[in-house]
Amino acid sequence: MADRKTDIGPPHYEKFLPPIIKANYGKWKHHEIVKPGVLMHVGQSGDKLFSVRAATPRLVSTVTIRLFADIAEEFCDGHLRWTSRNNVEFLISDSSKVDPCVARLTKEGYPVGGTGPGITNIVHTQGWVHCHSAATDASGVVKAVMDELFPYFNDKKLPAKLRIAFACCLNMCGAVHCSDISILGVHRKAPVVNHEQMNKMCEIPSTVAACPTGAIRPATVDGNQSVEVIEEQCMFCANCYTVCPAMTLNDPINDGLSIWVGGKVSQARSEPMFSKLAIPFIPNEPPRWPTTVAAVKNIVEVYAAHANNYERMGEWIERIGWPRFFDMTGIEFTKLHIDDFSHAGETYQRSVHFKRV
């Protein structure tokens, strides 16, 4: 135990940088997208670095990581990196190796793409693969959606980058609150309380306090110290469940997905924007979630047909106005779309500056 190593932190990144990056570090001049999935960065020195970006399902086996290691060794002296959106990039300094590398990745089933104005990998979360809180599966929905949108990953261009994010519950571990399109797992049934376990597994006062709407109150049920939920006051946030395992919201019929649009993070042109509700609920339809896939595709296609160049989803909708967004996509606008949370009033239309359908 004396030599137990702790707090060593991650290894220094420098160890893993290819020589061309070390030589040009901080001295890049410009870049271009040579073809879908292939970036060329040019240094002030004139050096050229090619990055070949391949899709991954994020959930990868060690078998596949070893495959990537092999490919990296074959084409770029073992140098690779992952991106902030779960793609893998092979860092090639010898231009003649670019096409073979692309071909090999394609053959292995890890297609190359995701650069420029189009759709890249979906930031997502655990779903039924690992999380107790999930209202849906994550990887399955992502796979089904990306199969359908695949042309936008490696071939077809969109007006601008279109970032999709996915989270399986309102904790939103994917950045779904600020994405062009977000898919979010939602519960629609108030928590079911396990009255026998309640007092053993949870602190009742902190469980009561966890509810933002005050829907939970202490109660004695069948002789157990427990809590009761005022169902009409529940907005299915699952904060109680996070704090107390004895209150589950998971439900096979009433769990499902919602679709959000128009968020962004980058500050290019417009300030960052939150995603806004487009479709409040779609049932879980494993294994291929056809309704969700069709809904996402519809939004992408309407956007693709109508937005201007460089116009992100949210910028486009701001330009045409929400009435026309709902009209053009054929999505129904309902009471549920109208905010009723704490700052709801800030979302009401407080001018006549709305655009007509």
């Binding site: 991650p10 001049k29 990581i65 902030s84 107790h132 089904a144 494993p286 160049n309």
Partner: protein, 398 residues
Amino acid sequence: MATKRETPLLDELMTGPWPSFVKEIKLSADDGKDAASDLLGVLEKSYNERIGHWKHGGIVGVMGYGGGVIGRYNDLPEEFPAVAHFHTIRVNQPSGWFYTADVLRKICDIWDKHGSGITNMHGSTGDMVLLGCNTDALEPVFAELTEIGFDLGGSGSDMRTPSCCCGEARCEWACYDTMAACHDITMHFQDELHRPAFPYKWKFKFSGCSNDCVASIARSDCSVIGTWSDDIQVDDAAIKEYADGKQVDIAQDVVRLCPTGCISFDGSKLAIDNADCVRCMHCINVMPKALAPGKERGATILIGAKAPIIGGALLASVMVPFLPMEAPYDDLKELAEAIWDLWGEHGKNRERVGEFIQRIGLGNFLEQIGLEPTPEMVAHPRTNPYIFFELGEEDGEE
């Protein structure tokens, strides 16, 4: 040898052009991992029943650390014994997610030996996530990881694993060395990373410019976004080339889309009224060969982003309009520590710093951490007249 399970529903996700996570789990199962095999079984069941089968995690971890492991148990341990325990280990990635074939294989060796063989490359916070192992496996995995120079990431109410864009390593727009900053901060705050002592989680993310390729403004308690304080660099000759070329219509694609209308272009020469520029990056993005961030570089520090639970999502807000980002980043560290002290003492349990600031008021917050209020910190001054005047000496009470 792992059990072979029938997975007709999951098998439908083996087809199609996008790489299949089911294939990945099967690769591990075929590679002899019982856990992978049982995971297929659990998941197929979930696909049938449309409900998950995981239970709330208990407190599991490695000795001396309070974070880095997410405990997870299955609710059908008899049916799926190999995933009865199915904890994940968050491994702190190297800055910018750069690896070599070599080091990846070493990690695979460890995980093949002790775990499910399944990973997330990477988790949404940025960690390498080793997905699924037994409680027993935790210490050995940890020991072997440190042996090859890796350590755990964060979880719980601690400093979470910082992350950054590739920045100067591969981007001409990086206004500071994101990878160096991320690494330095990570190393400097190892204790905060491993031993949860905050009211709630704290995330650092580093982006080299306002394109924000790690989504820091939306997803981190402390978002460090590269920027400049002088003028955009314009290469007139390169502008001319763009003007003559076909790819960019400067009037339409650049001038018209500048959010402040501060660019003018007469057909060959482009001029920017930098006083009005908000450093949004758009013009630079469109013409990377002709335009570049200024020479006086640094970062804007923003505080307080978070997902919606529970008061609603927040974007981070400006705390330091411009900070030169030079190692050893003392200003940034002092700022973080001043905030941690205050939030640590007065923050409520599970109150993110963004919510804390809103609760006590940004003005009070600034006063407490010793920063001068400046108009850059607000979109606009208050509109309501509910001012908490604090009467000083000169105001003489009656």
